[in-house]
Symmetry: C2
Subunit: 358 residues, 2 copies
């Protein structure tokens, strides 16, 4: 069995803490260690290090190698970010080449949070078992706890295939609030955590069908694995490949059997400052739901979130629902409810600078 950790993301939703050179998977915003490392540690008891593949972008290769200095995991470097489909195709090719074509791979995003790791591992092992015994794709479907509009959903067929295992009817895009309420009420929908389990042979078959040019490129690339020219050949293939998610390219179209395992593992994609605040405030917040990661104090304030790794003493006075992120070169003060707009600032910086803050 194999684990592929997709660590190629370059989000800006945690600006100013996250930067182009240090995206969310390298931040210790929850759980005291970089999220990528936590993702690895979550599954290290499931497979041997030699069966772990971490796929990262070129600019994050060094930081990743430093994180895994004393661990014999495989670090795969993508020449550029092209979303999850090419990433999964490349990993499938390399594992297939290593002789693991018939053993299932679990593909995991590097920057998600899981509160109940035992349940997560149990569900993941269940998925690996199913994917081992049948040519299929298995996903983890997170049992929804609120009408979340920020996630895609997985719709299941009514009947249980096995205990907590269902056949998937469809993958659906992020709903509006009313639709999300219906999904929640129906009980037939799960949050799509972007976790897929399948054999490399199955995955490569999917690429052959739905991304044939990319598949041809992978097959051609195979002969260069281990050669000096591999990097150039890979860069060439990526430059010609569409930027597209695995969900969109494959999962929404496939005719291969797809199963979903109903999981109650306390998963979150930690998609914004507000989502991070919500994850942490229960345990770490004060009676007024203020949360500080750093030094400082709250006065006459409620539901505020301060993150400061600079040693500066941050005080809030007379405020509600305010986010303060204090870094060495930039300070963000925002309405915590307007967390989705943080990218407005990074877009501004791209146009007007200072660009070193990106």
């Amino acid at each position: 069995m194999y684990i592929v950790i997709m660590a190629g993301g370059s989000g800006t939703r945690f600006w100013p803490l996250s930067r182009e050179r240090r995206p969310k998977q390298f931040l210790d915003i929850i759980g005291c260690r970089p999220m990528l490392l936590q993702t690895y540690e979550r599954i290290r008891s499931v497979v041997d290090d030699s069966c772990v593949y971490i796929v990262v972008g070129k600019i994050h290769e060094e930081e990743t190698r430093n994180l895994f200095l004393d661990r014999s995991v495989n670090i795969v470097v993508e020449p550029q970010g092209k979303n999850t489909a090419p990433c999964i195709g490349l990993a499938a090719l390399l594992i297939d080449f290593q002789g693991g074509g018939g053993d299932p791979i679990a593909i995991l995003p590097a920057d998600h949070y899981v509160a109940k790791e035992d349940i997560f591992r149990k569900d993941l092992e269940k998925a690996l078992k199913i994917a081992s015994s049948e040519d299929c794709i298995v996903t983890l479907g997170i049992i929804p706890t609120r009408p979340e509009t920020g996630y895609g959903y997985i719709e299941r067929f009514p009947g249980e295939v096995d205990n907590g295992v269902f056949k998937v009817k469809s993958f659906v895009e992020k709903p509006d609030f009313d639709l999300a309420c219906e999904y929640l009420k129906s009980g037939n929908y799960f949050w799509n955590a972007g976790i897929f389990v399948a054999k490399p042979s199955v995955l490569l078959h999917e690429f052959a069908e739905f991304m044939p040019h990319f598949y041809d490129g992978l097959i051609e690339l195979k002969q260069y694995i281990g050669e000096d020219s591999f990097e150039d050949k890979l860069a060439d293939l990526y430059s010609r490949t569409e930027n597209i998610s695995f969900d969109y390219a494959i999962m929404e179209k496939t005719s291969t059997p797809v199963y979903v395992i109903a999981s109650d593992c306390g998963w979150s994609d930690v998609g914004s400052w507000f989502s991070l605040y919500e994850l942490r405030v229960g345990k770490e917040g004060d009676a007024d739901k203020n949360l500080i990661d750093g030094e400082g104090a709250f006065f006459d304030s409620k539901r505020c979130f301060v993150l400061s790794r600079t040693g500066r003493w941050v005080s809030l006075l007379g405020l509600e629902d305010v986010l303060v992120v204090d870094t060495n070169d930039a300070v963000l003060v925002a309405d915590l409810g307007k967390h989705q707009q943080v990218r407005v600032i990074t877009e501004y910086l791209k146009k007007h600078g200072p660009k070193e803050l990106l």
Copy 2:
């Protein structure tokens, strides 16, 4: 003629920019230079440097001497802050000793702002002229422009003594809002700017009447002026002296004639972050009344005020009426309307620390 600048204040209303070692009069929060220096520059054309007395606290002596390194002003050091009455008494004694007993002194707070300096000087010279020709106390009364509850008021008698000069009926404490509206409507009230003009002989006479113990101490101290033991004798006197304002100790009780000069000099005591914001936003604010003194940008925000002298890039997102003060070791984020509560934080720091932020 003499000018006394009272620079002994130790306010905390501009925390975290102001600190015990660096109170407001040493800050360049408006006008690009320390307020004490601006106060001096405002009157330097009125008198010779040798007739300027700057009264400061012990812990601010060095900083003051550095500010006035190449100017031959007199720097008087108070052993401790005891409010304005002892400060004025001490200055009167020293100027009387220097032989200026019969020449008027203008006593000015060091940390106020004046927009129209020409008018201010004209009114001050008018006051000096009156105080020179008669044994009286003359004050500048600022023509009120709003029902301000943060200032004390000066009530005048109806009839004009001279163009813009009135006899004072009473000094009144800070009113509540309704009373302040009445004051504004009546036209008989001025803001008390804490500016007094009188001969040292007149002032000493007042102290003899209303603070007789302190007056006796001053007279005893006179023989030690210029001696090594002066500092110890002064410290001894101050330790025995009440902490009291000149308004309260003398002006509210005196039977000496008191005049007020109606002044439209654009005065403000710059008493809070909000007051500073209001003074500056007209000229320096953007269309949404956001004001930044430093580097950064506003997004979807209104009436916000950022002051950062650290070089950090401060961005505000989706906020209204928020103050951000960014310093090297502390950051304050506050509701700009709750500016009066900043001292809650300094009181907290006194109890719980870190004390180095005070």
